[in-house]
């Protein structure tokens, strides 16, 4: 089995589409990382100077000055209390302030977990799913699967070797990228001297672990479906149906508890440990407020999400293995 695993790993490494997808799996999170670091950068002396210039520029603009004069002359028209010093209140309301031009979010690992952390996990999951699909889709498309079986006819062993390689590669690639991502953000936060919330770093790594597993199993799922349908195109069709058409149909048909079966909700549940959403499809849940029944809120935990994806994996994996063992290979 070790020999076969090494062969499949080599086959995976030598596949250009796989290399391209791995490169994207590194590149896209790197871009998201760069954007996050840039968008949360602290205000520098240069930024302050530029902001000050902008404030002065805006303040001196003839239009603003005209408006200010009008406000001072007729404060009531601007909704201001005429008993107060009109100039003070008008200037307070109309003149630009320094913070308007220097306001930026502060890097916060807790909020990043729910924002860019989820985005990176989604990107990695999609890309590794494609890796699982394209890896074996190519074997079917080129017909080289039959050639491989002429050298190793134990089909279950071949199926398992490919599956293990796809799963391990997925977990490893996603794991490394996510560890790098969170370590990078942690390092940036430390360098900026930001105070991190208790458990923020360990929570981020726990999320990275769960996201890596999700990505690895997504790759395995893509592989299993492609082994079943023997076509990358068919796999992509099935995944499209599962991700978009299926939930849409469930919603339109008003399937009870449809939120429970939405892939994105279960994904969030696994990644964030728990998630909740309101079922607006029910008439009694349309009015938001204290009268809305508790049953309108659907709560999902990691366990629910894991059960959902585990079930899907079994639905794809078992028929995939059985069919590969029994069906004729072209």
């Amino acid at each position: 089995m070790t020999r076969l695993l090494r062969v499949e790993l080599t086959r995976l490494r030598w596949r250009r589409a796989v290399l391209l997808l791995v490169a994207l799996a590194v590149l896209i999170p790197t871009v998201i990382f760069g954007a996050t670091v840039w968008n949360t950068r602290p205000v520098s002396a240069g930024d302050l100077e530029r902001a000050q210039q902008l404030v002065e520029q805006e303040t001196q603009s003839p239009g603003l000055q005209r408006e200010l004069q009008r406000c001072v002359a007729h404060p009531r028209q601007y909704g201001l209390d005429p008993s107060q010093d009109a100039r003070t209140v008008c200037e307070d309301m109309m003149l630009p302030r320094l913070e308007w031009f220097t306001q930026r979010p502060v890097l916060d690992l807790v909020s990043e977990r729910e924002n860019t952390g989820v985005a990176v996990a989604v990107v990695l999951t999609m890309l590794l799913l494609l890796i699982g699909t394209t890896f074996v889709g190519h074997d079917w498309n080129s017909g080289s699967m039959s050639n491989q079986l002429l050298f190793e006819p134990r089909r279950a062993k071949v199926w398992a070797a490919k599956a293990v390689v796809v799963l391990l590669t997925g977990v490893l690639v996603a794991g490394l990228v996510l560890i790098a991502y969170w370590t990078g953000l942690w390092w940036v936060a430390e360098r900026r001297g930001l105070e991190l919330a208790d458990g923020a770093v360990s929570d981020a790594y726990r999320q990275a672990f769960r996201a890596a597993l999700l990505a690895g199993f997504a790759g395995l799922g893509g592989y299993a479906v492609t082994m079943l349908f023997r076509s990358t195109v068919a796999t992509l069709g099935v995944l499209f149906a599962l991700a978009i058409a299926g939930p849409l149909l469930l919603t339109i048909l008003g399937f009870p508890g449809h939120l429970r079966f939405m892939p994105q909700n279960n994904f969030a549940a696994v990644l964030l440990e728990r998630t909740s959403m309101t079922d607006y499809s029910r008439p009694e849940c349309v009015e938001i407020g204290p009268t809305m029944p508790e049953s309108c809120v659907v709560r999902l935990t990691t366990r629910d999400g894991a059960g959902y994806f585990g079930g899907l994996l079994l639905l794809a994996g078992v028929p995939s293995l059985l069919s590969f063992r029994r069906r004729d290979v072209p």
């Binding site: 020999r3 080599t10 039959s146 050639n147 491989q148 079986l149 002429l150 006819p153």
Partner: protein, 309 residues
Amino acid sequence: MSDLVIETTGLRKEFQTRRGRRLAVQGLDLAVPAGGVHGFLGPNGSGKTTTIRMLLGLARATAGSMRLFGQPVPAMLPSVVDRVGAVVESPKFSPNLTGRQNLLLLARSIGVPATRVDASVETVGLTGRDGDRFKSYSLGMKQRLAIAATLLKDPELLILDEPTNGLDPAGIREIRDTIRDLGANGVTVLLSSHILAEVEQVCTSATIIGNGRLLASGRVADLIGAGTTYRLVVPEPDAAKGVLADAGFTVTADGTALTVDSKRPSTEITRALAGAGIWLSELTPVRADLETVFLELTADDTLGREGER
């Protein structure tokens, strides 16, 4: 222990199609002895490739039994697969990998060292081109790479399915020479082909199938019955006919010539006639070719049609 390398009994394969079940192989009994090149002859769609695919575990038999080296397959295929090299239909490799990379993957899967890859590449004359991508190969090079892949195992049995399909005359000759060499070096080769001349030139024995059934099997020479019919031209055909009939030959008159059917050597004909003072003007062995035999055998079958029911 049987000395048959390939043995099938009552082999049957049905395909489920939209129009119902299609019978590709119906009760085929195939026996390929060890050694030499054995032709597997039949028209397109006669079930040759399906039979080969079943032997190699790529397709499941609907009924019947199969043995390779005396071992039942597909159950024991893993224990004999290292002794079998095969090219089924067109060569199938990863198009974006080089020829060498494709061979290396296969070699590693059976624990064969990279030096064997070099040797195989050299044997089929691909040295220097093995670093090119498979998709850039000509059809002939692809066929040669497929044969190189079979040689990785150092096989005792080589199954080649239409290996000269699409090749130019030079490529065809090269492949045939390679097959002959392999056969001469002790490898048993099963050569599936619908090209009668190819089987006649390369094979020592052959099995002819039609419509998924066995039609004939044996040595090629026996199948075509070489040398069993002679055309004679004599000055006195009537007298000669009498003499030969008395000597136990089956003779028919054909105008001024005679046709003699016999498995006895032609020297007995000349001796009998000379003994009666009749001197031959001409004695020509009328050699039936495989095409004639094949067409006779498959006359009842519609070529290319597979049993439907």
